[in-house]
């Protein structure tokens, strides 16, 4: 994270009241807005999570931490969190490895035109509407009429019922998630790779011709902040994934692709159980904060110091 304390500052000017209030006048509008739409709702969610609150079933009643016990012991919630974590554990390493390969390919001296083209095209999966990605997935992964099975058939693989069975539906979500987010990881890693000073790289080349030691001992340490950023942000994006997965088949078949956010959305707006859904949201929030802090501890100690 960029450190605001290292920014160049204006020297203190005439110490009028207006001067002293100036920073706060600049910041106040956004601060008030974010307090109203960011902090207040969060406090409201904490409050709701402590109430027995089912929409249409009378006024909310305080019930201690019961909702949290209901949430933690709910089989469906456990499964949806587990699914989210499995999605994370499978996609993250794949995205990192593929993203690193793409970043290294962009870093090479060969084929400048192709590299330029790739740099531009990498932004497409990030910018394209996730709901549309979901629709395209439905069309392309169709068992009988989809182009994916047709292409697989050409290389002798028999048709897969991608969307029909629970396991393959989850595998489809994994594939599409990797398609959607590998370019983001690649762009972040590519930016991180460009922070390796060329003279250090060249000095290492004099030391050894072999690629791996140069990569792991010289480039990787320089890239650690970038890798941490990719992990932290990609984890946040995966934890809050909803649009694309929902558009494929609303968490189905059954609950095969029902990730945590889809589960909570369903509980709150189809099951009307605001109390327990709020408790589950808070638990997800805590989980994502814990994951982000763990990465920063593991990979990027300086930040905490």
């Amino acid at each position: 994270m960029s450190d605001p304390d290292k920014l160049p500052l204006l020297p203190p000017a005439r110490r009028s009241f207006l001067e002293k209030a100036a920073p706060w006048l600049f910041i106040a509008p956004s601060l008030l807005l974010l307090l109203a739409i960011g902090l207040y709702p969060m406090i409201y969610t904490v409050y709701n999570s402590l109430q027995n609150f089912v929409m249409g079933m009378g006024p909310p009643v305080f019930n201690g931490g019961t909702n949290y016990i209901t949430a933690i012991t709910s089989q469906n919630f456990q499964n949806s969190v587990l699914r989210t974590l499995v999605l994370l554990v499978i996609t993250l390493p794949v995205e990192l490895v593929l993203g690193m390969m793409i970043a290294l390919a962009l870093d090479s001296q060969h084929s400048p035109f192709l590299r330029r083209l790739l740099q531009i095209c990498l932004v497409i999966p990030i910018a394209i509407t996730p709901a549309v990605i979901g629709l395209l997935t439905q069309l392309m992964f169709n068992e009988q009429l989809g182009v994916i099975n047709y292409l697989l058939g050409r290389i002798g693989i028999s048709p897969v019922d991608w969307l029909g069975s629970p396991t393959s539906a989850f595998a489809t979500v994994v594939c599409v998630q990797i398609w959607e987010w590998t370019p983001f990881v690649a762009l972040v890693l590519s930016a991180a790779l460009s922070t390796v000073p060329p003279e250090v790289d060249e000095a290492a080349l004099l030391e050894t011709e072999r690629w791996w030691p140069r990569f792991s001992a010289i480039r990787l340490p320089f890239m650690l902040p970038g890798i941490t950023a990719a992990l932290v942000f990609q984890t946040a994006f995966t934890m809050k994934a909803f649009d694309m997965i929902y558009a494929i088949q609303k968490g189905g078949p059954g609950s095969a692709t029902e990730v945590a956010i889809i589960h909570i959305e369903r509980l709150a707006f189809r099951g009307f159980d605001i109390g327990v859904a709020s408790a589950q949201s808070i638990l997800m929030l805590v989980l994502s904060i814990v994951l982000a802090r763990t990465y920063i501890r593991l990979f990027y100690r300086e930040v905490d110091g």
Partner: protein, 277 residues
């Protein structure tokens, strides 16, 4: 193997690898646009027709369906208003953070970044309850407000970066000329960061335009629903008019793809709140 051959192989593998990635990225896009120019039987022909007489029927159908145009219009209004609001409150904040040292600056900064990473349901449920009480469900203003959760952090981050690159000497000179801080901000610094304004507007606009979850819950009504929601609305029927779905999808995604390409250099830096260069 001679060094020349080894080098030639390396070059070939490098180019081939890039081409494979390009095909993986672009093929779904091609399939969407191609599908929008086909008829239903053609779209599902096996083996697929790689050449065909393109037809605009699907687009005519989509545009004739008043829902699609209205949804695109709604998305445009919501996105432009949300971005405008985000810029109006976010840009001064970025200036304040970039140019002043004050207590709580660091905390405010980290809190803004946290909002960008927030799990959306934490905000969505209370927003829904509050909006319902205020009779603001199906009101575009509700969406415009809730999108500030991610627009303000994006704008503030990108603009702090921009204001940092304005030489302090320039502002000091203006100070000597008797301009106060607010005049300096408006007349000296702001004109110098217009490229940054455009980038943060486009980047935050992409996320506002693409949102499904908030729009799905807060503005579900026929009159007010947004583009990503309308794209999904066909799925209820018994037979899905796929060419029309693909035509709608193409119309929905065209602005964000063009916008994304226009600012592709800043995407990694913007989305990671400046954690990478």
């Amino acid at each position: 193997m001679s060094p020349q051959t080894a080098d030639a192989i390396k070059r070939f593998l490098h180019a081939a690898g890039i081409v494979v990635v390009l095909v993986m990225i672009l093929f779904p896009l091609y399939w969407m646009v191609a599908g929008s120019l086909k008829t239903q039987p053609e779209l599902f022909a096996i083996p697929p027709h790689w050449t065909w007489a393109p037809t605009l029927d699907a687009y005519r159908e989509a545009i004739a369906d008043s829902g699609v145009l209205r949804a695109l219009g709604n998305s445009l209004i919501v996105t432009l208003s949300a971005v405008a609001l985000g810029l109006v409150v976010g840009v001064p904040a970025a200036y304040g953070i970039a140019r002043y040292s004050f207590r709580g600056r660091r905390e405010i900064w980290f809190w803004y970044v946290t909002n960008w990473m927030l799990v959306p349901v934490v905000v969505l449920i209370p927003f829904y309850l509050t909006a319902a009480r205020l009779h603001m469900i199906n009101n575009p203003l509700t969406l415009i407000a809730v999108y500030q959760i991610f627009i303000i952090p994006l704008v503030v981050w990108l603009m702090v970066d921009q204001f940092r690159s304005v030489p302090v000497a320039l502002e000091e000179a203006a100070q000597l000329d008797g301009l106060n801080r607010f005049q300096i901000f408006l007349r000296i610094s702001l004109p110098l960061v217009t490229p940054g304004l455009a980038v943060s507007a486009v980047l935050s606009g992409i996320f506002a335009w693409n949102d499904l979850l908030y729009a799905f819950i807060l503005t579900p009504g026929d009159e007010v629903r947004t583009a990503p929601t309308i794209a999904l609305s066909y799925l209820g029927g018994y037979t899905i008019p796929w060419p029309k779905v693909m035509a709608t999808s193409t119309l929905v995604t065209a602005p964000v793809i063009i916008g994304g390409i226009a600012i592709h250099k800043y995407v990694a830096r913007g989305l990671t709140m400046g954690a990478v260069k």
